[in-house]
């Protein structure tokens, strides 16, 4: 029971804590004027010194976006968003690559400190040269508002031929790869938010793993929205060449503000023959306060293409933040024998709303997919699992298993399940199961009887409920995720 005890301890330690990443960093920032138009796009593109093809691609996306309508099919209730009232570009004014820790803007340093990133790493994060190569654990690309602040362990990775850098840098470093794959999984006309992102994306991470290379460390991106009224539109592109392997982590936080902030990201994954990509997210954007004031609007398009035979893409997500979450990490299983996985824990409390799920498109033979979704709804939150499993006629022997469980805490919240299952191949086997339940009195009584407070007991039970998904997370994230589960549900009982 050691692990259990640990969980309870963690929850207790954090019991008084609300959203601990809710601070703002008072830092000089350079912003573009509010609103989105061709000039802003040209400005962003010029800032990044982008080649002409990319500017044209952005402009085409912008043209398409103007003709598109915001989707209203999700089970989400929010006021109209004024897309012209946000800043589309904000960057901390970094001096030219500081040489030592003393030269780095102390505000930026404090931010990293508060975000809980270790000091040694911090030096690297702020762009200080000379500290790389010490005790490598995770290579981090930190995105602060619209720009990538720093990427760590670049040199070490480069030795192996791995490219891990900001996407704005990749455009210069390996333009042929970016041009070949950007928009190849999520085309710029894909959907309203992806198209907006295509027009206005500012930064994000780029990863290329060469043939046969197993990436020796976890790659990670840390997204931070700091500026008020700023939309964050990052774009991530990961390419795993034949026989390679990479595990990628994504974390996000934002300051506590009364206004809603917009986050519309696009993530594209490409796995070639025998390649594996593991993508984990702990999304902890500011969720708004108990009355639903403020919080991030999180509209994210994430999609992976298993292009090659025996390739595999695995999505794991822990969604605890954001006022609104609209997110469906998907897999297109093109290669024969390719595998798609989706493990999700989504927790909504207070007035949070989440409409999340996945799509598994089976195209190749013997493609397999697994979906495990655990939704926990508390307070006055509304949560929906929305998923699609599609078996195309050529997908001989395809296999899917879906398990969606919802847990309701309190009688003011809602939990909904909307799976779509379309099968056009008889040899395919598709199974979907969904259950909804509450924490049973027996479980609670058992815990209370052993001296746990009600809140600790709930946290313990919920952690057990999510275990199937949490165990899929890399170690670094698993602990944080467990804590988050406890904190997110705070105040939901009693």
């Amino acid at each position: 029971m050691a692990a259990t005890h640990e969980t309870v301890e963690q929850v207790r330690a954090l019991a008084e804590q609300k959203y601990k990443y809710g601070f703002t960093t008072d830092i000089d920032a350079e912003t573009a004027p509010k609103g989105l138009n061709e000039d802003i796009i040209r400005f962003i593109s010029a800032k990044k010194e982008e080649p002409e093809w990319l500017l044209q691609w952005r402009l085409r996306a912008f043209e398409a976006w103007k003709t598109m309508q915001e989707p209203h099919w999700p089970k989400l209730d929010y006021g109209p968003i004024d897309y012209q009232d946000a800043y589309y570009y904000a960057a901390p004014k970094l001096k030219n690559k500081p040489k030592s820790l003393d030269e780095v803007d102390p505000e930026l340093l404090r931010t990293y400190e508060k975000l809980g990133i270790p000091l040694k790493e911090q030096a690297i994060l702020a762009g200080v040269e000379g500290t790389e190569g010490q005790a490598p654990a995770i290579a981090v690309d930190a995105v602060f508002d619209s720009v990538s602040v720093a990427t760590t362990y670049k040199a070490k990775l480069e030795e192996m031929g791995i490219i891990f850098c900001a996407i704005s840098e990749a455009v210069h470093k390996c333009p042929e790869l970016v041009q070949k794959y950007l928009g190849s999984v999520v085309p710029y006309t894909d959907n309203f938010f992806a198209t907006l992102n295509s027009a206005a994306f500012t930064d994000g991470s780029f990863v290329y793993i060469p043939k046969g290379v197993r990436c020796p460390m976890e790659l990670s991106t840390y997204f931070r929205i700091n500026q008020a009224n700023t939309g964050q539109f990052e774009r991530t592109l990961i390419i795993a060449d034949e026989g390679s392997y990479v595990s990628y982590l994504e974390g996000c936080t934002a300051p506590q503000r009364d206004e809603n902030q917009l986050h519309a990201a696009v993530v594209e994954l490409v796995a070639l023959d025998n390649a594996t990509i593991k993508y984990s997210t702990v999304q902890n954007w500011y969720p708004g306060d108990a009355n639903g004031v403020g919080g991030i609007y999180n509209f994210v398009t994430k999609r992976g293409a298993c292009r090659g035979v025996n390739s595999k893409i695995s999505w794991t997500q822990v969604e605890t933040g954001s006022a609104i979450t609209w997110k469906y990490p998907s897999c297109i299983l093109q290669g024969d024998n390719s595998v798609g996985e989706f493990y999700s824990v989504a927790i909504t409390n207070n007035r949070q709303q989440a409409d999340t799920g996945t799509k598994m498109i089976h195209i190749g033979k013997n493609t397999r997919s697994t979906i495990v979704s655990k939704g926990i709804s508390a307070g006055r939150a509304q949560q929906t699992y929305r998923g699609l499993v599609k078996i195309l006629p050529r997908a001989e022997g395809a296999r899917n298993h879906t398990q969606c469980d919802s847990l309701l805490i309190g009688d003011q919240c809602g939990a909904h399940t909307v799976p779509y299952i379309e099968s056009r191949n008889r040899s395919a086997r598709v199974e979907h199961e969904a259950t909804t339940a509450k924490i049973s009195e027996d479980q609670l009584f058992y815990c209370r009887q052993r001296g746990l407070s009600e809140e600790d007991a709930v946290s313990l039970i919920v952690n057990g409920f999510c275990k199937e998904v949490l165990k899929e997370l890399p170690m670094e994230f698993a602990v944080e995720a467990q804590k988050l589960v406890g904190i997110s549900l705070e105040g939901s009982v009693g």
Binding site: W73, I391, I421, E422, S423, R426, A428, H432, T436
Partner: protein, 454 residues
């Protein structure tokens, strides 16, 4: 929420021919003297004109396209044609030689000459709506249009705009009907003309009553028919109503049906639909559990082949606490047929202790068959147990091998396995004669299938 924004509307241009028909029929409809009925029809027409014919751009019709309807110029059914249609054999679940209460409708109009209400206890009303609009004007006037929502459902609106005839059944308080009531609907295209009609069913089971109703839908074929049924079913406190339906129309028929039921306190509503007919069919069942401890069983089996398209859409609305619902649907889909299952369970705020269960399993028997399944849960109460399951696949190879290794020929073994697969749904029917009759229909379908191409 989606409701605050405009959802895509239907095809209002495609609604035009039907609106013209409504305007032409207006003068001939029975019950025009009743203001409530006039209002219903007027509102129905208005709503249908506004909603249009559903299209696949609308979520509720995502998987079922009514485009094929547009290619046929349907004429409204006439009373004369209905009266003149010759009927050889009427389907029944009764043993040969036995008779019982029965209403026969040809193209939605009552054929009194083929119907019988002998032996019904006093107080039970079983008649056609056209008749009831004069003989029981207040009774039907009060209830028509209360459950079937013409505001949201365009085809219900269309039905309401021209409601004229169909079965009316009223079982008074405490009356238990031992004999099942059979309702036979014949779709007949007179003189080879494509025909459309809109039968309206009203069933009222008063508190503590009990009855079994069996609907047979058949058609001799020859030319396309389009039957647009709407049924309203009131199940009073403590009443039990078992409502079974078998639809075996010809493969040039279109069959759309919307049954709206409200189930009061401690009452029980059973619905089972066996579908093997029609080129395009959609059975929509909406049951509202509107009293504490109400329960419903909404199940069915669909057997489709050729180019058939069969849509099953259910909505179980748990509005009160302690309700139970159970759904078991099984389907066998062969050749190029396509089946659709959309099942939704809503648990309203406060409907605590709800127990809802839903299962849809589909068997794909050919390389070109398709199943689209959308089981949905929408839950606003925490102390509930709700689950759904959906599967799609082919016959189990190992089971097949087991049978074949015991000397059973392949096709026969497959037939056995399909029959046992379907039995899981058919076994949900508690009434033995109905269960046997439905199982026999399924067996017949399998035999015909085997006798075909394979």
């Amino acid at each position: 929420m989606a409701t605050t924004h405009s959802t895509p509307t239907g095809d209002t241009a495609a609604a035009r021919p039907y609106l013209d028909q409504i305007d032409r029929l207006k003068g001939e409809l029975p019950g025009a003297a009743l203001s409530r009925v006039r209002e219903l029809r007027r509102d129905g027409r208005e709503r249908f004109a506004a909603l249009g014919v559903p299209t696949v751009r609308q979520e509720a019709w995502k998987y079922t396209s009514l485009r094929p309807l547009e290619k046929v110029a349907f004429e409204p059914a006439t009373a004369a044609a209905a009266a003149g249609t010759h009927i050889d054999v009427l389907p029944t679940v009764r043993p040969a030689g036995q008779t019982g209460p029965r209403l026969v409708f040809v193209n939605g109009r009552l054929r009194a000459d083929l119907s019988s209400t002998d032996g019904l206890p006093d107080g039970v009303v079983l008649t056609g709506l056209a008749d009831a609009l004069s003989s029981h004007a207040d009774f039907v006037g009060e209830r028509l249009g209360r459950l079937a929502n013409a505001d949201e459902h365009p085809l219900v609106a269309l039905n309401t705009a021209v409601l004229a005839d169909g079965p009316v059944l009223h079982i008074p308080r405490g009356v238990v009907l031992d004999d099942p009531i059979e309702l036979v609907f014949v779709s007949a295209a007179a003189d080879g003309r494509a025909t459309v009609f809109h039968p309206r069913t009203l069933i009222v089971a008063d508190p503590l009553s009990k009855a079994v109703v069996i609907e047979h839908h058949v058609g001799p074929g020859g030319a396309p028919t389009f039957a647009n049924h709407t049924a309203e079913v009131f199940v009073g406190e403590g009443a039990t109503l078992r409502h079974y339906k078998v639809q075996r129309e010809q493969t040039d028929a279109f069959h759309v049906s919307h049954a709206a039921a409200t189930v009061c306190r401690d009452a029980c509503y059973d619905n089972f639909i066996l579908t093997s007919g029609a080129r395009l069919s959609r059975n929509e069942v909406h049951a509202v559990l509107d009293g504490t401890g109400a329960s419903c069983h909404v199940s069915g089996a669909y057997l489709v082949t050729g180019e058939q398209h069969c849509d099953t859409t259910t909505l179980i609305d748990h509005a009160r606490p302690y309700g139970t619902s159970r759904e078991v649907y099984k389907g066998a889909i062969d050749e190029r047929a396509r089946a659709v299952f959309q099942g939704k369970i809503i648990v309203r705020p406060g409907a605590q202790k709800t127990d809802g269960h839903q299962l849809n399993r589909a068997l794909l028997l050919s390389d070109t068959a398709e199943i689209d399944s959308k089981p949905e849960l929408e839950i606003y109460a925490d102390d509930v147990k709700c689950s759904h399951g959906a599967t799609a696949g082919e016959l189990d190879d190992e089971a097949l091998f087991y049978l074949r290794s015991r000397g059973i020929p392949k096709e026969e073994a497959r037939g056995l396995l399909i029959a046992s697969f379907l039995a899981e749904a058919i076994d949900e029917i508690p009434e033995e004669p109905v269960r046997d009759a439905f199982a026999a229909i399924a067996t017949g379908w399998l035999a015909a299938r085997r006798g075909g191409a394979r």
